[in-house]
Symmetry: C2
Subunit: 323 residues, 2 copies
Amino acid sequence: MNSEFDLIRRYFTRPIHRAVLGIGDDAALIACDPGMDLAISTDTLVADRHFFTDTDPGKLGHKALAVNLSDMAAMGATPRWVTLALTLPVDRIQSQPDWLEAFMRGFFSLANAYQVELIGGDTTRGPLNIGVQIIGEVAKGKALRRSTALPGDDIWVSGQLGDAAMALAHLQRRIELDPAELAACLPALLTPTARVELGQQLIDLARSAIDISDGLLADLGHILECSHTAATVYLAKIPCSTVVKKHMATALAVDCLLAGGDDYELCFTAPESKRVEIMQLAQQLAIPLSCIGEITEGEGLRVLDSNGNALTYEKKGYDHFLT
Amino acid sequence: MNSEFDLIRRYFTRPIHRAVLGIGDDAALIACDPGMDLAISTDTLVADRHFFTDTDPGKLGHKALAVNLSDMAAMGATPRWVTLALTLPVDRIQSQPDWLEAFMRGFFSLANAYQVELIGGDTTRGPLNIGVQIIGEVAKGKALRRSTALPGDDIWVSGQLGDAAMALAHLQRRIELDPAELAACLPALLTPTARVELGQQLIDLARSAIDISDGLLADLGHILECSHTAATVYLAKIPCSTVVKKHMATALAVDCLLAGGDDYELCFTAPESKRVEIMQLAQQLAIPLSCIGEITEGEGLRVLDSNGNALTYEKKGYDHFLT
């Protein structure tokens, strides 16, 4: 059987270019660029909570990094370095020796695409738990925050919402999608794309930003709370796939769209004066950007249907301790 | 029941002084000091693996941070910021509402003592898993590494080794300590002290350093491997408590001393010319520093008993995947 250090050498250690010192000492070392702030975040995936234990390990490796890249995107930061704290059941190593290799292949494939370096970590035995810590760079004072939305700002969303939650609902037998619909929705759940470049390009356009991991209402709600503002959102303007559209008569699809979570799209606010530049950016990056409402004075988040009636809505999003 | 965000507000959010932005956004922000390198490390504690599930939560909070401070100490870095990725069983929150409060009290009490700021984290539901990520500062190019020991260096160890392992052996009923012995050994296991100030003071004295978390032989072994050197260590010179000394006739006590782990003392190498300064430092910090052997050419680690005979020794230390 492999020792912890064999595992580290074999699966985790790769050449380091940007860090001063990578894996193999008591800590990694990175040099500071005085023109930059560092953005630091951590996100954990727990078996049976964030993923099914039989999830394809390569896709899981991708997703574990993607959800952290998404936090960098939401700050407008360029992701640079990650550490990985992996708690692994022994049987996962013993009876499925390829599991870790496939997991790390998925992880490194995405890391390489963004030139993100794995500079450290920890491997322990226990119930499967995947902790990623990410560090990015952003020009000093320029990071996109949640607390800086202003009344009058447009509210924008990237991509389409709800697909990941629809796929999850199907896997949990809460809805039945046909095979083509499932195939269309599954990638959003299994291999989400973090909007890293979009976040960077929004630095001088957006006033505030967050990534949508817990659902639109919950995450936009964080912007409102942190910015001490309110918002009106138009249901019909929220971008979604034809699959979500087709099921929109069901409460579940509306739920997936507004509160499903796992979207990893960006929700940001920007002054009206930036509309043209934002539309140009959408074209340039080939990422749909939709204006779904506006920030207002006061507090609360109103969602209006196509008749202008406010939806009454209890569940705001995914909460790890309430759901 | 508390929501995730109630938990964060109540237990995790404290005023931030040194970071640009703390808990509450997609990432924390820290400013870079161009004269510094940043040291980054992560260490996870898993229930039933690194601690008994009924361990006093305040002590556990202390230890979760202490083992990470110890990594900073081993680099000579000043710990500055931490993030905390906490996976909690729901019953721990529901039936033991004071658990998290006590845990965080232990955590913050140690953090405050070192002026370390909690700037982010993640709270999820699942089998108890405590992931801490730590970031420290160290003068550019000055960090203590494992790879820089040279033949002729003295090998030093701080404090005393083996007490934590003796206490664990007692709790696991592999040895029976009398109450006074247990009381003497338990603090090393439950509330270890990281040698943070010692690490910083060793920057211009030591040639290489590591913290002893997996046992002396394993961790000194890492220095030898990384530095492509060998070593001779004298068993009688390895510092230990009267409890370990009393039991030294048993294989278990020798095991605890050489390979027990959980010591969180520093093992470092330094040229002979630094002996006086190191002894002065020991006095100044009131921390015992013992010279236990020397680095030699070649490879391998010899432990000599008081008759000059080499111990044959199979188990080198704690390995999360072999033990």
